[in-house]
Amino acid sequence: MNIIEIKNLKKYYGKARGIEDVSFEVKEGEIFGFIGPNGAGKSTTIRLLLGLIFPTSGSATIFGKDCIKYGPEIRKDIGYLPSEIFYYDKMKVKSLLKYSASFYSGDHSERISELSKIMELDLDRRIQDLSYGNKKKVGIVQGLLHKPKLIILDEPTSGLDPLMQQKFFDYIAEENKRGATVLFSSHILSEVQQLCDRVAIIKEGKIIKLESMKTIREETYKKITIRGEKLKKSVFNISGTSEIEIHKDELKFFYRGNINKITKIIGSQEISDVLIEEPTLEEIFLHYYK
């Protein structure tokens, strides 16, 4: 079943473009990545889903219900982790968490302490006195304390140290295993690489690619770097190689195709070193970003 269904969603701020024509679905139980350069429309799409802004045209449903009409109802099961956290003046962390929990039925105090422990969050401090990263943690706990079925993350790990980031990802992965669906917006491709099942790339308000991570990896090339004294470009110029570069004793290129063909050629040369890598998601997407 589709948890999120977005059809031809459009948002214009007067003449300024928010998003142009966005359509995609997020299936139950998957971790869906949403990537794009700054200003592409990631935040706009998310804010439309949450009912913070209203669409110019098109529709968006969550759990089968329209986001605007049934907003309050569907938000009962959504956890939203915003990119920047601001809270009420002089509030203590625990007061905010209690206040947030009061919007969701049931007693969440255990969850709050559990999550705070994992995230190493000091409940007694004033939010305004916390560092950016710690404020982020408040956002994370606040978004997850009610065991939401859909978790929407907007640049969630910016500001967290690598250890905390890893803890956070592990936690999200666990929640996902327990059945939560995750929509993950980011421009840090390594995160997306680590967590997501499927990925949508948005640029200038339009979705330009929608693919599963597996396919993306398979469809892409290997990055090969060879070191040797007498290397020549022409030797490696077979079908499937591209962007051959040679600099001093180092030859680099991308290759897609039958791996045997290229290894034979490499084997036929006198080389001192070889490096065969998967391109990073960065390199893949930069290709798409262009």
Binding site: L52, R75, K76, P82, Y99
Partner: protein, 267 residues
Amino acid sequence: MNIYIFELKTYLKSALLWSAAISAFIFMVMSFYPGMMSDAELMDQVLASFPEEFLKAFGMAGAISISSVVGFFAFAFVFVQLLLAMQSANYGIGVLSVEERELTADFLMTRPISRTRIILSKFLAVMTALTITNLFVWLSSIGGILIFNNGNEYSFKTISLILSANILFQLYFVSIGMIISVLVKKIRSVLSFSMALSFGMYAIFTIGEVLDTVNLGVISPFYHYDPSYISLHGKYNLMMTLLSCVIIAVCFGLSYILYRNRNIHTV
């Protein structure tokens, strides 16, 4: 309910401060009554010799003799209203806009609640805070009169009528404040608006009083709930009160509709 309680807590300290300040002011002013009495008696004698039309032209017809307790109270109460106006305008303009000014909108509006619930809770919280202040105004007004009446008699009914208008007076500023806050894209300084609104209405009234013809004063709640009028006629100015209520209802209704459909943008 949780929003209501939270918002009320936010306004409680301020409401108590205002209550203390306004109460102190009321007591101070009432304490001057005994001293003013003799001066006022003189005025009564002179004014009695003038025909109504002339007094009207100066707005003096509306002034019941200030040598009486009620007359003096009514006369001084305008300033109490000014203070109430500043407080109410401040609350009205600030209560909805605070979420976008302090950037907490992303938190509050992504909770599983409707905008309707947000606006109603906030409105009720603000009105509760203002009613607390109103309570103090009642207490100190009655207290002041009881202590400083100097043996003169007074109509408790008239005093109550004047004081009962407070809630509508406050409502007026709250609803106009709210509609302003929803119409203006980004409010950076609540005080500019609230001070301008409250003092503006006050200024419009006082100058409007002087000019007898129908003037801009009709939009000012100082005019709608003019204590001097009430004390003179023993009842409310029905037309103006009605007008006032209509404005309150329209402003509140519009605020509600506009806030429900408001796009909340990112930081």
